[in-house]
Symmetry: C2
């Protein structure tokens, strides 16, 4: 799906994909910064633990945000598609300042939320100013085109990645997580090579992209973000390569950004 | 990418995916109807043969549309990404009443046109009333989420289909072609099961969906169109199935429509 239209005199909320494994014990820099942005002690945070198969994932993040001083923390137990079409769930999202989607399996998010009123309401509320963060699977689910799975390695090949429709908060990005830790350069390059319209961002663990309403993203956390810009691609063998063969790509632009670095998704300019 | 916004007092042009193998010798019903819609003897048709590896594909369709009485038929030779960013190509699209994308390999279209000015201009001109038709690979490329490849068979399994970003004229549909001829029910179901927000349409050969600005589609041609509506899905094992295992889906709605049948993509109602 596409992002909901932003009404006149409104600003889209921040979109905050996190690479997984964010610090939950020491400074908790990423989670603190996200909570602050949502209003701190006045913030109403809604945790969506649908990606996780563990029963206590929602409660764990609820405790974390409470410890950090959030005003109110609810859990949206989106376990099946019927619930995701209920008025109660839509109403809870109406009252939220920010939502947080946990890690797990992004296909649990897309198969459960996809096409329901909850998914539609998240897009609408984000367009009206509600912030949306997600870690690991929760980050992968954010854009229009979601990486559902794939193989490790740094050289792209056609069968290396599985793409599926995501939540659709942005159509400028394809997001991958645990990026350095799980050697995911190849699968992100493959996803971009299918259609070089998007920008790829590979998020290391404990690293977040804070993407503002102006589509400028700022890096926070202890790792790096790898930005892949295929807009000047001169040559690609993606259309002729066999499924397990390496793909040749000429003219990729790449940036590695760390905490404080920014990237403008509209102008495609990076600053350290 | 998302469809370009339709300006006030404008109507989107028709979107006409064709299942491949359209009659080019006898009545040529589908091509004639498309030409008529574009203005017949006043129509300026632009053929985009990028999907094809054969040198004469563009000229063949140029001859066909001329024989059918088109006013003017040009060929847009989009062979590389640099050309697809040229002003000449954008200008040619400005003068077209309808474009026609040939068959071949849809990855040639997405890797060459994706993210270029030509792709953007097709979206903008379609939103402003220009009609867009595509056959086989040209049909697959039309929506936001494109089936790039996959395996035959009627039972869905996670590794059965490869999705990639498409042109983005519509985000309501996922399109498959040569549907009955190549047993593609399983791969279309798989594509929808990843995220049940879209409607699937499986186009038999010599069969077209004429999708109007009101998002009502009408079937034309000698075969059928299989419509898959996953919006009432009650259960899916897509998030837990192994790559080559069958996927359980409960609550799929399916319609088979033939010539004259219609389907409203907004209300999801079929009529014979």
């Amino acid at each position: 799906m596409c992002p909901a239209p932003v009404e006149q005199d409104c600003q889209r909320g921040f979109i905050v994909p996190i690479g997984g494994g964010e610090d939950q014990l020491r400074d908790r820099e990423i989670l603190s910064r996200y909570l602050e942005m949502c209003g701190g002690s006045n913030a109403h945070i809604v945790v969506i633990p649908t990606a996780s198969e563990l029963d206590d994932t929602g409660a764990r993040y609820q405790d974390l945000f409470r410890e950090l001083g959030a005003g109110e923390v609810g859990i949206l137990h989106c376990d099946n598609r019927k619930e995701c079409n209920s008025q109660d769930f839509v109403d809870l999202l109406d009252r939220a300042d920010g939502i947080f989607m946990t890690g797990g399996n992004q296909l649990r998010l897309s198969t459960t939320l996809g096409g329901t009123r909850v998914a539609q309401q998240i897009r609408r509320r984000n367009a009206a100013g509600m912030h949306v963060a997600g870690t690991s699977a929760g980050a992968a689910f954010v854009p229009e085109h979601m990486i559902a799975g794939g193989h490790e390695g740094s050289t792209p090949s056609p069968d290396m990645v599985t793409l599926a429709p995501g939540l659709g908060l942005t159509n400028r990005l394809i997001i991958d997580q645990h990026f350095r830790e799980r050697e995911r350069l190849g699968r992100l390059l493959t996803a971009l090579a299918f259609n070089p319209f998007a920008i790829g961002i590979g998020l290391d663990e404990d690293t977040a992209a804070f993407i503002g309403p102006d589509d400028v993203m700022e890096v926070a956390g202890s790792g790096g973000i790898t930005v892949i810009d295929p807009s000047e691609l001169e040559f690609s063998s993606m259309d002729s390569a066999r499924r397990d063969q390496p793909v040749s790509l000429i003219g990729i632009r790449m940036h590695i950004l760390v905490a404080g670095g920014t990237y403008d998704l509209a102008t495609r300019k990076a600053r350290p």
